[in-house]
């Protein structure tokens, strides 16, 4: 199969790009590993009935996902849910070949243009005890609420920093499960730094600021205690989370939800060896893209939070810019037309992006988030501690790939998605050099696990091979 544009990820960026690309006459394929569209921010959005009033426990922002899904469903784009990309072979000229798997069947698709729209993931929060059952991310709590209408039973504490922390605390309260406490880890110094440096942007981003203040008021009205400047967080409990402690206090809890912001999901963009840079403000690796989303490889673009955190509204807008650019590159519209249509989109993007530096400074993780103590597990899959990594560095392992060779961190099922930032930060700290110099893992195919049978092109279940000769494979 050959398409004009293959889009990976059915979140706001992917959905907006797919709908517009199809409208502009491009043969468009949108794949996503989830069964339903929406990505993470609009996860479960199709469950919200059309007839329900324009309010939702998740707020108007969440409902903004509905028209995006409707546009996608109504477009000529081919949408394949439940489909995982396990390899992309970039073509020398532009675009590339995607290896897909769905229901144990493997297929390859040639795409003249590729758009990665894989969004964001939670920054890992490596505090002592973070691998215990009962500890989840704040995003996980929201996903359970959105997709399954589930709320935690018993005592709940949220800890960390960033807008999502307050948003979910309020959403849980509205869903009848108010948290016992919210522990904010933003160092006091952040407030001054943020306000002082970015006072100019505060006006441009006033709508976001207004939302933030409304959140804080909502929490106060719901009677949820917020403790600020919390340091040295650690989870208490042996087989399960039983409480959470910090410098100067502790509280019993059955559930602990952590959040230290979100970072771009760069698994595929790093796997493709696209150029990335370390963003010292957002404290993450992000692919280098131009203002159309074009990456360092011809015909491969990135839109949405996967290129840099800017939120859902910006994601949809940047998806549309990428669609316009792809259409112009493939000759469906002229460049003048592309630029004309892009102008209002860029105008919409500006305020969304304006507030980011302020938020990034305000919610910059405290140093010990990037420098866990020795006993803390850094690689959850292979159970490798930060101390083991420091010892490997002393033995001469100078970067994440050498450390991986010594200790196996990054070799487990998650393939470094969770531990990558931690390992780079620990190595940087141990060597006394900036993280930008350390680099990160090089992800390989399969980007997600694929059965040997699907790879071989045989029936996976059941596994008998029909004939008794060596030529029995199709």
């Amino acid at each position: 199969m050959t398409v004009d544009l293959a889009i990976i990820g059915a979140g706001p960026a992917g959905m907006a790009a797919a709908a517009l690309a199809a409208k502009l006459g491009l043969d468009t394929l949108l794949v996503d590993e989830q069964d339903t569209p929406g990505g993470q921010i609009y996860r479960g959005i199709e469950r919200v009935p059309e007839s329900s009033p324009n309010t939702s426990p998740f707020g108007a922002d969440y409902l903004a996902g509905r028209p995006l899904v409707a546009e996608l469903r109504g477009s000529a784009a081919l949408y394949r849910p439940g489909t995982t990309v396990w390899h992309i072979d970039p073509a020398a000229r532009a675009g590339g070949t995607l290896a897909l798997v769905a229901d144990e069947h493997s297929e390859s698709v040639v795409a003249r243009r590729i758009l990665l729209a894989t969004g964001a993931i939670e920054r890992p929060v490596p505090i002592p005890g973070w691998t215990l059952p009962g500890v989840m991310t704040v995003g996980a709590a929201q996903i359970l609420l959105k997709t399954a209408d589930l709320v935690p039973e018993g005592r709940t504490v949220l800890a960390g920093q960033g807008p999502l922390l307050y948003l979910v605390a309020l959403q849980l309260a509205r869903a009848g499960a108010p948290p016992a406490a919210v522990l904010e880890t933003a160092p006091h110094a952040n407030y001054h730094a943020a306000a002082a440096r970015y006072v100019g942007e505060l006006w441009a981003g006033r709508r976001e600021l207004g939302k933030g203040l409304a959140l804080m008021l909502g929490l106060a009205r719901a009677g949820i205690a917020v403790r600020r400047g919390v340091r040295e967080l650690r989870v208490l409990g042996r087989h399960r989370a039983e409480g959470v402690a910090w410098e100067g206090g502790e509280i019993a809890t059955d559930h602990l939800f952590l959040h230290e912001g979100v970072i771009p999901n760069t698994q595929i963009s790093l796997g493709l060896q696209l150029t990335h840079r370390w963003d010292e403000c957002q404290l993450c690796w992000r692919p280098v893209v131009d203002d159309w989303g074009r990456s360092s490889h011809a015909g491969i673009a990135i839109a949405g939070d996967g290129a840099g955190i800017a939120g859902a509204v910006a994601a949809a807008l940047s998806g549309r810019l990428a669609a316009l650019d792809a259409a112009a590159a493939l000759g469906r519209i002229s460049e003048a037309e592309r630029d004309r249509r892009a102008a209002p989109i860029r105008a919409g993007l500006a305020p969304e992006r304006a507030i980011r530096p302020f938020l990034d400074a305000l919610y910059r993780p405290s140093d010990n988030m990037l420098n866990p103590s020795d006993e803390v597990i850094a690689c959850r899959c292979e159970e490798v501690t930060a101390g083991q990594i420091r010892r490997a560095v002393r033995l001469g392992a100078s970067g994440p790939n050498q450390v991986k060779a010594f200790l196996r961190c990054g070799m487990g099922p998650c393939q470094g998605r969770v531990c990558g930032p931690i390992v780079s930060a620990v190595i940087a700290g141990a060597r006394g050099v900036p993280i930008a110099e350390i680099g990160t893992y090089r992800p390989r195919a399969p980007y997600k696990p694929i059965t040997l049978g699907a790879l071989a092109g045989v029936e996976v279940f059941p596994h008998q091979i029909a004939n008794n000769t060596e030529d029995s494979l199709p």
């Binding site: 995003g139 996980a140 039973e153």
Partner: protein
């Protein structure tokens, strides 16, 4: 561990978690069903035998690996619950059934 929120519509998908039947909403994941069934942990790690439960719920951390309908090590947070689905804890490395 997790319960439905008060004004949730009636759950209709019946799945079995470690032999216990629970009802979840259409669109809920197998991991959500496991949490709702009260499983304290969903797997024992193959490396150290540590107990783990779902962490990210979005297919990134792989801590939600469970045996679903007899197939081991599936990311239960990315698998939608279907009627009659059988979900069991993943106990360490998978066992292979060889005829």
């Amino acid at each position: 561990m997790f319960r439905p929120r008060p004004d949730s519509p009636a759950a209709t998908i019946a799945v079995e978690v470690e032999g216990r039947v629970v009802l979840v909403l259409a669109g809920a994941s197998a991991a959500a069903a496991a949490l709702m069934a009260g499983l304290s942990s969903i797997r024992d790690t193959p490396v150290g035998g540590s107990e783990r439960a779902p962490y990210c719920m979005m297919g990134i951390c792989f801590d939600c690996l469970a045996e679903i309908d007899g197939v081991p090590n599936r990311q239960s947070c990315v698998v939608a619950a279907r009627p009659g689905m059988r979900i069991r804890r993943q106990r360490g490395a998978r066992i292979v059934a060889i005829e």
